[in-house]
Point group: C2
Chain length 205, copies 2
DNA sequence: CTAAAATATTGACTAATAGTCATTTTTGTG
DNA sequence: CACAAAAATGACTATTAGTCAATATTTTAG
């Protein structure tokens, strides 16, 4: 039985290797040429795989795009959480602001990532379409949020909705304020955003 | 001189007629078949225009998409503002909630429109790429907001940013709560959203 | 009013691309 | 090892985007 399981996981690993290669190749091309100007042929050429193989794993370009947006936004939050652990911040509100600030700073440094995920930052947290494919060893922001509330004995009317609103607000406003600097550049926007988030977190009952 | 202007406007009108036809045809197809499965040929067939004409006015499908998202979201807000006028609501906060509620209800009724504009509801207000093309006879929500603040003698730290945040929050969360009913269905979400918006509007200095 | 100039429109054409599927290769099983 | 099952291949077809020389329409100016 153990033997069988080992073999099974070996197959899955090989399967995922091809898939992973396709994802990496696609991501590189999407970043350099943009999605519209990237062809399936280029994606498979970029990882020495036949065109037919692409269609074994994905329906089309936009399927890969969707996966990558989820993966990349999840990665952003995971990195933020790792960084948070190194910083020993006790106050719950400050922890949340730290994470948001980390994510925003990463997006400012990597505007090409922001242009790719557009306003879909929250996919990493709320799109469970790929839950089986993306590793989730780290404690997600969702779990951290609820644990933080419990540890600090903070009661919110509905913690899930509050977190949802915060992430959506950050995701959707980053695109405008970082890429187009509208209605104000990100640096001018940040204080207002962080004040608003703190207000949302005080939404007690 | 008047004559010349008349002629000029006649040209512009004819120009816009072709463009308008293309936009209408594209919108119908986008709504029924989706953007991915709509071809340029179908768009031009749908309004008895040659294919080459399409490329006189637009770069590609996504150019038309961008215009339509802006146009349709602007239309939503204009309709909301018209409806507001009929309802004689004096309280400023209630006026804003009325508008947001009207927009959300329209999106619930027309989920195909929501699927089309996705999280870009704010384009109607903040995308000025098409300002010269879209009629703007009605008082925009932007102007109404600032007028409302003035009339009610309400001081916000930065009214533009507050409005921006509200619209982005509504736009980005509607997609998830209406289409996917996540993290909660729209009806359960509304009270939290409206409470949050009222809080944002109390952000005085 | 007319002819030349400027502008707008056309649709046949080419090059590029998506997606399919019969065949081949690799992997697993007894 | 031999057979079965699963995965991968890439030549092929049908579709489509985008171009551009030719044609039609509109404007201007004498």
């Amino acid at each position: 039985m153990i033997n069988k399981n080992d073999k099974m996981s070996k197959i899955d690993l090989n399967k995922n290797k091809k898939k992973q290669k396709l994802l990496e190749s696609a991501f590189n091309l999407f970043m350099t040429k943009g999605i519209k100007d990237t062809s399936i042929q280029e994606i498979v050429d970029g990882c020495k795989v036949a065109k037919g193989t692409f269609y074994l794993y994905f329906n089309d370009k936009y399927d890969i795009e969707d996966y990558l947006i989820t993966y990349k936004s999840k990665e952003l939050f995971n990195n933020a959480l790792e960084e948070l652990e190194k910083n020993y911040i006790n106050n719950f509100e400050d922890q949340i602001i730290f994470i948001i600030n980390y994510v925003i700073d990463e997006l400012v440094k990597n505007t090409n990532i922001l242009n790719f995920i557009k306003k879909n930052l929250s996919q990493g947290i709320y799109n469970d379409r790929f839950n089986n494919l993306i590793d989730n060893d780290t404690l997600g922001i969702y779990e951290l949020f609820n644990k933080g509330l419990k540890d600090n004995n903070i009661k919110l009317k509905n913690p899930n909705i509050t977190l949802f609103m915060i992430i959506e607000l950050v995701g959707s406003t980053c695109f405008s304020t970082i890429i187009e600097e509208k209605p104000v550049p990100i640096n001018e926007y940040k204080p207002f955003l962080y004040d608003t988030i703190r207000m949302m977190l005080k939404d007690k009952k």
